[in-house]
């Protein structure tokens, strides 16, 4: 399954796009799995991922939150300044 992950602010700028397709070859996909796949496959995000969370359908996700086809998945990077 391919999960389209929305990106915002500095993370979108680093990647050069407002969204990123993440391909995961598993049946049951969790938020933690998406974050782990991003960490492996998108080096531009490595530094900011430890301070990021996923939102699924406009709710912050727990690590075990399942992701199904059609869900809106967003990477919420907390890289706010002062």
């Amino acid at each position: 399954m391919v999960v389209q992950v929305l990106l915002f602010g500095p993370q979108a700028r680093l990647v050069g796009s407002p969204s990123l397709p993440v391909e995961i070859l598993e049946d049951r996909i969790t938020a933690a799995r998406v974050l782990a796949t991003l960490a492996e496959s998108v080096p531009q995000l490595a530094a900011s991922l430890p301070a990021s969370r996923l939102a699924v359908n406009h709710e912050f996700a727990e690590s075990h939150t399942p992701i199904k086809p059609g869900d809106e998945v967003a990477l919420i990077g907390m890289v706010s300044g002062g």
């Binding site: 602010g9 500095p10 406009h58």
Partner: protein
């Protein structure tokens, strides 16, 4: 809880002049304004470009406002935050709280802003002056 005492609003562009916050029996009103500074990391800055992710951003701001109102026993509060481009010198964030006494008002402003910066989906990106001007 008392949602009528809370107002949360995202505003496109800079935030205009403040309207009074009506709150009967308030003894302390505290208003905070965040203004875009003309430099960022030592470089002259034209503007900040704010991005939200609606409706999550407004919903999380509303939740944070509800918790703050309850925890500090506030009478009323109003939150306004810019999205889009805000030029240096203009207001991009305004928070007003009304409380019986000043200690609650100061504590609420301090904690709301700290938590907003940690947990609310709001991003800002610097817009630097073009170097070929």
């Amino acid at each position: 809880m008392s949602d009528s005492a809370i107002s949360v609003q995202l505003v496109t562009g800079p935030i205009g002049p403040s309207r009074p916050l009506l709150a009967c029996d308030a003894g302390a009103v505290l208003l905070f304004e965040g203004i875009v500074r003309p430099t960022e990391n030592g470089e002259p800055l034209d503007a900040l470009d704010y991005e939200a992710y609606e409706p999550l951003t407004t919903r999380e701001l509303q939740r944070l406002a509800n918790r703050t109102l309850t925890d500090f026993g506030l009478i009323a509060m109003r939150v306004e935050h810019s999205v889009g481009c805000v030029a240096a010198g203009q207001v991009s964030f305004r928070l007003i709280v009304a409380a019986a006494h000043r200690a609650e008002a100061i504590g609420a402003i301090d904690r709301f802003i700290n938590q907003m910066k940690q947990s609310i989906p709001l991003w800002k990106m610097p817009v630097y002056r073009l170097s070929n001007d």
